[in-house]
């Protein structure tokens, strides 16, 4: 059975802090790992990772994949209150349809 595990499940920080979110997986026929940010409504796409060791970066957010150890991290530097959200990790794998298996999510709260 495909499995994705995120840690921590929740995190409370102050503005300006740096946070690291973790995602480990066990998936057959791995294709890609994706990170999403979810505020009050629809999850929005952050990154897609397919190759080990290549960092993806967007502003203060960055992510990297380790396909040997089967995990990924999402880093957020200089956090702001607008970063408060649920961060979802998902892995595409399984059958030829490549359905996404999601982790539990990490709830990040950034206080002023």
């Amino acid at each position: 059975e495909d499995k994705v595990v995120q840690s921590p499940l929740s995190l409370v920080v102050h503005e300006g802090d740096t946070v690291t979110l973790n995602c480990s997986y066990e998936v057959t026929n791995f294709r890609s790992l994706l990170w999403y940010k979810q505020e009050k409504k629809a999850p929005t796409f952050l990154f897609m990772l397919t190759s080990s060791g290549i960092e993806k970066k967007s502003g203060r957010l960055s992510s990297i994949l380790d396909k040997k150890e089967l995990f990924s991290i999402l880093n957020i530097t200089a956090t702001q209150t607008g970063d408060s959200a649920i961060y979802l990790c998902a892995v595409s794998g399984g059958t030829s349809y490549g359905k996404l298996t999601f982790g539990q999510g990490t709830i990040l709260t950034v206080h002023p």
Partner: protein, 114 residues
Amino acid sequence: DVKVTQSSRYLVKRTGEKVFLECVQDMDHENMFWYRQDPGLGLRLIYFSYDVKMKEKGDIPEGYSVSREKKERFSLILESASTNQTSMYLCASRQGGRTYYGYTFGSGTRLTVV
């Protein structure tokens, strides 16, 4: 702007009712998905459809069925709603064959069964 639209943002239904959750996408996507989201459990796949009139069970299909008569519309049906089906329901779509890529999500329907 491409969209996945779920017909209701909030819904309250009684135990035993038959409930229809509707999802429409305007991107001509072949693949469509229904997930439910619960605290501490993340998103769990209920059903998906890789093309019109096709459907596949996900990880938690019990108590649910689906219908995909047209490409743009994917309906989730709760045959006899129960309180343990109180949850956030998310619909998503993706172009067929793009198995590496993520989905476009709808805004979700928060269903409460009383």
